[in-house]
Subunit: 216 residues, 2 copies
């Protein structure tokens, strides 16, 4: 198909497609004449993935490029999943609290994790240390106690995620499911967490008064 | 203390404090002279909470105001937790897919949920329907199958969250723990989810080749 049809089928404007081509987020089409290129279903699919990363994941062009490199590198699915997750977890600008970094390292040690424990080497580890640093800065130095029960619950969730990914049949489907599942899954998780809070709090603190009189 | 000391102790610049006062995010100090107001520990605490909402939660001033109203309204802890969660879950601009809305309603029906099932009435429900709508728009119409296992895992997580909240001793501590725990908890959860993925995928798909030859 020509670029006009690629635009029509993807809903992405032609100038944006040309920008992605220049930035290397979309492979060049096959030239059918000096001024005309031909695109196939692979281009359409890649374009939809780029849009999902930009729109849903709110990723920068540089981060999208990192994700695509991770996807296109020949490696095992397990390593590829790790690389994609690193790419979509860009580090924040938060100053890390050494105590929070120590909490994260203690958590990894308890869990027998030896990969990616260094905050300077893993975006995911940095994200965790940054969140605990912010908590400490507003006086919450006990949040690391939540890490073990969080991981326990998240293993059930990860099992469902990995089953969902493994159900996909082709290589492209699996990779897309990893990226989409991780990004959209984060938002789904946030929303369902609210429901879980409502259900649990109804049982645990439903009848407890709001301590209105304790204004100390 | 005077506004200069409030600024020094909170790390928030005086012009920003004055802006929050004008916007009603911080109650006025007690006037000790026509041009001088006195602030107490309650102001400092509220100011730190506002900063956490702005910096960690990335909330707009209007959303911060909604959270503070929810906090200051006399109600049970359970209802207050719900109101705070609604306030920090601002709806996205995503067009909802009616099929995704039906998926969310079916999920709520399965779970026996009767509150907040309407996407026009609940920000949390809207967030969930929006995430599933985006998934559908990129060809993933099976993600609703993840909702039940997600809730199962999140109940373990919510139990830890509610225990953490209930451990706080004063009314102000409990409310702050709700807000901070929900906002920072979302990021902690995202990071720990990556670790859970890594652990589970090592077991399930670790040895599976990446299907490099299936380029169909």
């Amino acid at each position: 198909m020509r670029v006009g049809e690629l635009s029509k089928r993807s809903g992405v404007p032609v100038p944006t497609i040309k920008y992605y081509l220049r930035e290397g987020l979309l492979p060049a089409g096959v030239l059918t004449s000096p001024n005309q290129a031909h695109y196939d279903e692979g281009h359409l699919r890649r374009l939809r993935l780029v849009r999902a990363l930009v729109d849903v994941g709110d990723l920068s062009i540089a981060a999208v490029r990192d994700v695509l490199v991770a996807i296109d590198t020949r490696d095992s699915l397990h390593n590829k999943l790790g690389a994609v997750q690193e790419a979509i977890s860009q580090p924040s600008a938060v100053d890390l609290d050494p105590l929070a970094v120590a909490d994260v390292q203690a958590f990894f040690a308890r869990q027998g994790e030896t990969d990616c424990v260094d905050v300077t080497e893993s975006n995911v580890t940095h994200m965790l240390a940054a969140a605990l640093s912010v908590a400490r800065s507003v006086g919450h130095d006990g949040m690391q106690d939540l890490l073990d029960p969080y991981l326990e619950g998240l293993k059930i969730i990860a099992q469902a995620d990995v089953d969902y990914i493994a159900r996909q049949s082709s290589r492209d489907d699996i990779i897309e499911a990893m990226v989409i599942g991780t990004l959209i899954g984060d938002t789904v998780l946030k929303a369902v967490r609210r429901l879980a809070h409502a259900q649990v709090s109804r049982d645990v603190i439903g009848d407890r008064p709001a301590l209105e009189d304790d204004e100390s």
